[in-house]
């Protein structure tokens, strides 16, 4: 088990990053910090999927003069480019909602908001 984890240490790094984000989401009280936690979790998933496509000693998947195999897998990179843009969209919307909450309630601390109800 430990040896298998050591061989896949790049994936384990993504898991640890994911847990850091999860910690921010459940332990922090400030809505912006919570959303930063969600962003860290997104980054962890992106890093995991990108590293699944890595090939050791591979070159970038750009054909042309001087290109030689093995190539790094282009498919995860293309999918994650899409994912990053969607993450940016959700971030923009969430931050606007948080600004709106601040204007309406005067605070973005989760426990104070709960007390306001």
């Amino acid at each position: 088990m430990i040896r298998a984890l050591w061989a896949n240490i790049d994936y384990v790094a993504s898991v640890v990053l994911f847990l850091i984000g999860l910690y921010a989401v459940i332990a922090k009280n400030n809505l912006i910090k919570k959303f930063m936690g969600i962003n860290i979790m997104e980054t962890a998933v992106f890093a995991l999927i990108i590293s699944v496509g890595t090939v050791r000693h591979g070159s970038p998947p750009i054909m042309g003069a001087g290109a030689r195999a093995p190539f790094i897998n282009p498919l995860p990179q293309a999918l994650i480019l899409t994912g990053i843009v969607v993450a940016v969209s959700t971030t923009a919307l969430a931050l606007s909602l948080i600004i709106r909450i601040y204007r309406q309630c005067g605070t973005i601390e989760a426990d104070e908001l709960r007390r306001l109800e």
Partner: protein
């Protein structure tokens, strides 16, 4: 008490994730299933079928073009949602936000003015050369949006807004969606399916032109949307 609960949740999440990760195929092997199914074909035939030497661009704009089309609609929708949430009118955006008249550091202004043209040229290279080298519309658009945000932070809000004139701003924000619709309908008219590319090898320049049109649309639209989201959040109600 709360701290113990948080640690328990994190450990409970770590154990199954680590167990799953330990069973994945070894990192970095070329013989992993992810690297042997479907991808060799993209690598082999991508440049001649889709028209770009950069296989990532082939996948984004040709093999999975519908996906990217949906994605530019998503980011445009996010802009509309942010504007609707904060209810900002263009006039409010142009109003000087508080602190805008604060004295700016002359050193920061000088450095930003000195490097801005180089950043702008770099984005143009990224967008126009994105199908032959690392880069593309999203990357170039993001850097150009960051440049506009940097300029409006250091040289003043008005200066940043003047980079996207108010009359053409909606068209610039919708540029990515419009470019996809235009190329998609052209493909429908000429090749029989939405977003279809001409498959004859003589028409390679047409394919390249469509790729560049999409990249420019994505770049301009992305930059305009990022800058507008920033101004929207900055504006006072």
């Amino acid at each position: 008490m709360k701290r113990i609960a948080v640690i328990a949740v994190l450990v409970a999440a770590f154990v199954p994730l680590a167990a799953a990760v330990a069973q994945l195929p070894t990192f970095g092997e070329a013989s992993n299933p992810t690297n042997t199914y479907l991808v060799p074909r993209y690598l082999q035939k991508g440049p001649e079928e889709a028209g770009a030497a950069n296989v990532v661009t082939d996948v984004i704009l040709n093999y999975r073009g519908y996906d990217t089309n949906g994605e530019v609609v998503v980011i445009f929708t996010a802009l509309i949602a942010a504007l609707a949430t904060l209810l900002v009118r263009p006039k409010q955006m142009a109003a000087t936000p508080p602190g805008d008249d604060a004295p700016r550091s002359p050193i920061v202004s000088f450095v930003v003015k000195a490097i801005a043209p180089f950043i702008a040229v770099f984005t143009v290279y990224l967008v126009l050369h994105g199908h032959l080298s690392p880069g593309g519309g999203f990357q170039g658009g993001t850097i150009f949006g960051a440049l506009i945000i940097l300029l409006s932070l250091t040289l003043g809000h008005k200066y940043g807004l003047s980079l996207l004139p108010e009359r053409s701003r909606p068209w610039l924000q919708a540029a990515a969606v419009l470019a996809f619709i235009a190329v998609g309908l052209l493909g429908w008219a000429l090749c029989g399916a939405y977003l279809a590319y001409p498959s004859y090898s003589q028409l390679e320049w047409v394919r390249e032109g469509w790729l560049i049109a999409l990249e420019i649309g994505i770049g301009v639209g992305g930059a305009a949307i990022f800058a507008t989201v920033f101004w929207t959040m900055e504006a006072e109600p």
